[in-house]
């Protein structure tokens, strides 16, 4: 606090006093001085005089001109400010959401991805399998899923043998059938397209050849089995990879593409089964069915067995299953010993085929119970008969059973030689 001003204050100080810019305490001291000082009072009065005169003049009213447009402009600016704030708020929310998503993807990535991967095949493939297996006829022996798994496991090793089987000698029994086999149904093609999108061309090419060869001889219940076996295997792989990709992508395609693929492939499997059922119906008609069901049924397991002799126990199961399936299918030929063989079948089998076929039927029947050397002899005889009849797939199948079940024996060597005649190299047992 300043003491009372003994001398005249500066004019600037008086000016500040006149405009109220002096602190209250100092203002009181100044006023005390001004009250007792004529000079200072004159200065202050002069300022007040002008101010009073100035304030006595009424203010000019602001013009209305331009006011409306000015207010509209201000309103627009306010709206822009609102939207800017809203945009910033949205941006902030989006940034936060993105950051959260990134953190969610990065931190628990492994567990989340594995969950997705587990979920993807667990939800869809069972439906696919169920749908694909519905038209399948019951098969004796191992459950269908086991078969599918086993076939999937054996695929790689089968590939070589299957390529050999693709030699000209292993052409399907008729060109019509071959054409039928090589022409995929639209549904199947659609499924294959879907799969190719998911798996890539190189993955799809190999499985495409295998079913063709496996199914090549003729449609039969076990053909359905083989087809169904391979299809779900492919589906599982495709869905697995699709689920994996989708999981890596971390977006909705998990349910979208994956589900679509599963459904379309299931549809393809259904259509295929329907086509095969139709084929089966056609094939079962004696007059127009140039088929050899036993060979067709048995074609697949021995191939796997030839490729993977180390899995003898498993292969035995497959062979047993194939035999079990083929047995009832083979019974008609056995009955056909008394009945005349259809002309087409006779032509296919060659001269003297009725007797040989009757013998083959007899051998098949005996093989159901035969063990040890008796089985070896029967298999060998069957192998030789089929080879003599140029029944390539059947011969290779039987010969492979000899070489697998009785490795290292003279019969195994002989069977290997016979199979080599059909461009198939069988293990004799001595190489193991």
């Amino acid at each position: 606090m300043r003491p009372p001003v003994p001398t005249h204050p500066e004019d600037d100080r008086l000016l500040e006093l006149a405009y109220g810019e002096v602190p209250a305490s100092e203002a009181r001291a100044l006023r005390q001085h001004v009250d007792g000082c004529a000079r200072c009072r004159k200065v202050l009065d002069g300022i007040s005089e002008v101010r009073t005169a100035f304030r006595s003049i009424p203010e000019e009213p602001a013009p209305e001109k331009g006011l409306e447009s000015l207010l509209a402009y201000g309103e627009q600016a306010a709206a822009r400010a609102r939207s800017r704030r809203g945009g910033l708020r949205i941006l902030a929310l989006l940034s936060a959401a993105t950051a959260f998503a990134v953190v969610w993807l990065m931190l628990p990535g492994s567990s989340r991805r594995s969950d997705t991967l587990v979920q993807a095949p667990a939800t869809k493939p069972p439906d696919v399998l169920a749908q694909a297996e519905v038209p399948r006829e019951p098969v004796q022996g191992a459950p269908a899923r086991d078969e599918a798994d086993r076939v999937k496991d054996a695929k790689e090793n089968e590939a070589k043998t299957l390529r050999r089987l693709a030699s000209p000698k292993f052409e399907p029994t008729s060109r019509a059938e071959q054409a039928k086999e090589e022409q995929p149904s639209p549904g199947r093609q659609a499924g294959a397209d879907q799969l190719s999108k998911q798996k890539g061309v190189e993955k799809l090419d190999a499985p495409r050849e295998q079913p063709k060869l496996a199914e090549a001889p003729a449609p039969s219940p076990s053909d359905h089995e083989a087809g169904a076996r391979s299809a779900p295997g492919e589906l599982a792989g495709a869905l697995g990879s699709a689920g994996g990709k989708a999981a890596v992508a971390g977006s909705s395609p998990v349910g979208g593409t994956g589900a679509m693929t599963a459904e379309s492939t299931a549809g393809a499997a259904k259509k295929r089964s329907a086509t095969e059922r139709a084929d089966e119906g056609t094939a079962n008609r004696p007059s127009s069915a140039p088929s050899s069901p036993p060979a067709a049924v048995a074609a697949r397991p021995p191939v796997a067995a030839a490729a993977r002799p180390e899995n003898a126990a498993t292969e035995d199961k497959a062979a047993a299953a194939a035999d079990a399936v083929s047995a009832p299918a083979a019974s008609p030929p056995a009955k056909s010993a008394s009945k005349p063989v259809p002309p087409m079948q006779s032509m296919r089998m060659g001269a003297g085929s009725p007797e040989k076929q009757a013998r083959l039927a007899e051998i098949r029947r005996q093989l159901e119970t035969a063990r040890g050397d008796q089985r070896k002899a029967l298999l060998m005889e069957k192998c030789e008969i089929e080879a003599s009849l140029e029944l390539g797939p059947d011969a290779v199948l039987t010969c492979s059973m000899v070489s697998r079940e009785f490795p290292g024996t003279a019969e195994a060597k002989r069977a290997s030689e016979l199979a080599r005649g059909f461009s198939v190299q069988l293990p004799t047992g001595s190489e193991r």
């Binding site: 600037d12 000016l15 007040s48 203010e59 309103e75 822009r80």
Partner: protein, 181 residues
């Protein structure tokens, strides 16, 4: 002003209602020309809208507003000076010239005072109008104008002295009412 920055559409009309007349009076007294004052008034408020995002609550709104108005006046005066160099100068000067006696006789105080303000040097008029009409403290006027605060106060004193002399010369006594703070 903070509400307006946040996008409150009702805030701007409120600001206009409160300050537009005072700003217009300030500009009119600065320019001594109604048409120019109207233009500058509009220009001032448009600048307020455009620069609203730049305004910080640390500054008083009136100080910020009158700074804009003052700068608009200065720019306008500069343009007028450039135009005054042209042939129309004589005519314009003649319109701005006035006869204090006739004005005082006609309507007493206002014309005398308006003329006295118009006759002030720009720097003195500026400080006088900013302090008297806008109510901006001297230290802020110093910041606005870039002049030292003592200089601003000196200009103010000179302006007040000149106006008082003019009023006395016009035979107009200041209305009684004592001190105005």
């Amino acid at each position: 002003m903070r509400r307006f920055q946040r996008g409150d559409a009702r805030a701007f009309p409120e600001l206009v209602r409160r300050h537009r007349a005072a700003v217009f009076a300030f500009v009119l007294r600065w320019t001594q020309d109604r048409a120019r004052a109207e233009d500058i008034l509009q220009e001032t408020w448009l600048k307020v809208v455009r620069a609203s995002t730049d305004w910080s609550p640390r500054a008083r709104f009136t100080t910020w507003l009158y700074t804009i108005a003052r700068n608009a006046c200065v720019d306008g005066a500069r343009r007028e000076r450039a135009r005054a160099a042209e042939p129309l100068e004589a005519e314009q000067v003649s319109t701005e010239s006035h006869d204090p006696e006739r004005a005082a006789a006609a309507s007493e105080l206002r014309p005398v005072l308006e003329a006295a303000i118009a006759a002030l040097p720009d720097a003195q008029r500026e400080v006088f109008l900013l302090r008297e009409m806008a109510g901006i403290p001297f230290h802020e006027i110093a910041r606005m104008t870039g002049a030292p605060e003592p200089t601003v106060k000196s200009r103010m004193r000179y302006a007040l002295e000149a106006l008082r002399t003019r009023l006395t010369e016009a035979g107009i006594d200041a209305p009684a009412g004592g001190q105005v703070a």
